[in-house]
Amino acid sequence: MLNLLSRSCIAAGVALVAASAVWAHHSQSEFDFKSVVEVEGNVTKLEWMSPHARLYVDALDEQGRTVNWNFELPSPMTLMRRGWKRNSLKPGDHVKVKGARARHFPDIAYASVIRDGSGNPLFTGVTQIYDPQPPQSSSPK
């Protein structure tokens, strides 16, 4: 199942990070989609709860200290409709995660692409890519 999803994951994930703003079930202005983070480490937990599943990853920072990253994913409901299960990622799995950092929390990010240790795409956090501005406008109507 993961391989079947991989192409869409890459394309959508890249577009997500490039987008000026992204909306899921609410505005996601709490994330800075221009601040791209790339983290490699081991999964410590996949939190399978609403409104957003969360992937926690231990990775070393520039000073060699272990940081436990908190990556926001779509809801379990959305993930299940893409064929994912609550054990699709397990503690100890080696992953590379790309995403957008929270504006005020350096260790929290919105995941856009997740790859396995070999770099094969596993998963995308994208639920929507959208420019929220009305089509006609420089100023709101």
Binding site: H26, S75, R81
Partner: protein, 230 residues
Amino acid sequence: MKAPAPRTREGKPDFSGIWFANVPAKDYCKEKDCIQEERMAREQINWGINMQGGLPYTEWSKQVMVKRRANGGRDDPHTYCKPPNYPRAWTLPQHTKIIQTPKEMVMLHEFNAAYREVYLDGRPLPVDPNPTWNGYSTGHWEGDTLVIETNGIRDDMWLDIQGSPITESGHVTERLKRTSLGLMKVQVSINDPKAYTKPWSVTIEMALQVDTQMLEEICLDNEQDVKLYQ
């Protein structure tokens, strides 16, 4: 899916089923080979997204919307896991399940396992309704179209992510027409003199979802975004 709409034993169109916005899978893709699976109605962002000139905001409601939009999701009831409210709920990424009987239509919504009742038994709308998230809804038939009238909406409701308001003076008319087995058109008309200079209507298309079931999404289970809006 192109077969004619099913009918009830009474001969009325039967809207029963699980529905979700009929947005092409590639609608939001920015890559040539994108096969993105997730779909959402554009109107989730702004009901006037395809309307020439946008929604006809009054000066008051325009100021409200601009402030809400500038704050991102910081003020959105949805961010705080408040209930889904129709007609906004039609556009959300969760599904609606319709259960139809001759006297009542019930809409189940996945977000917070919510429900909405639409009375089809001929009762009038209340004159002085108690304001609620979904308001008070009655429906009647005009040919094969189910016309749902709603009043009694709370004064602080959001219609979309950018914060287009609807007030307690608002009256919502939804015209449901099942055009085939697989599709339903929902025309949403808003008449709210406090928020809009004139009535407006937007039609969204919903697609029958046959390869899934209702999946519970209880928002407060693990809400962690509010703290990020510093």
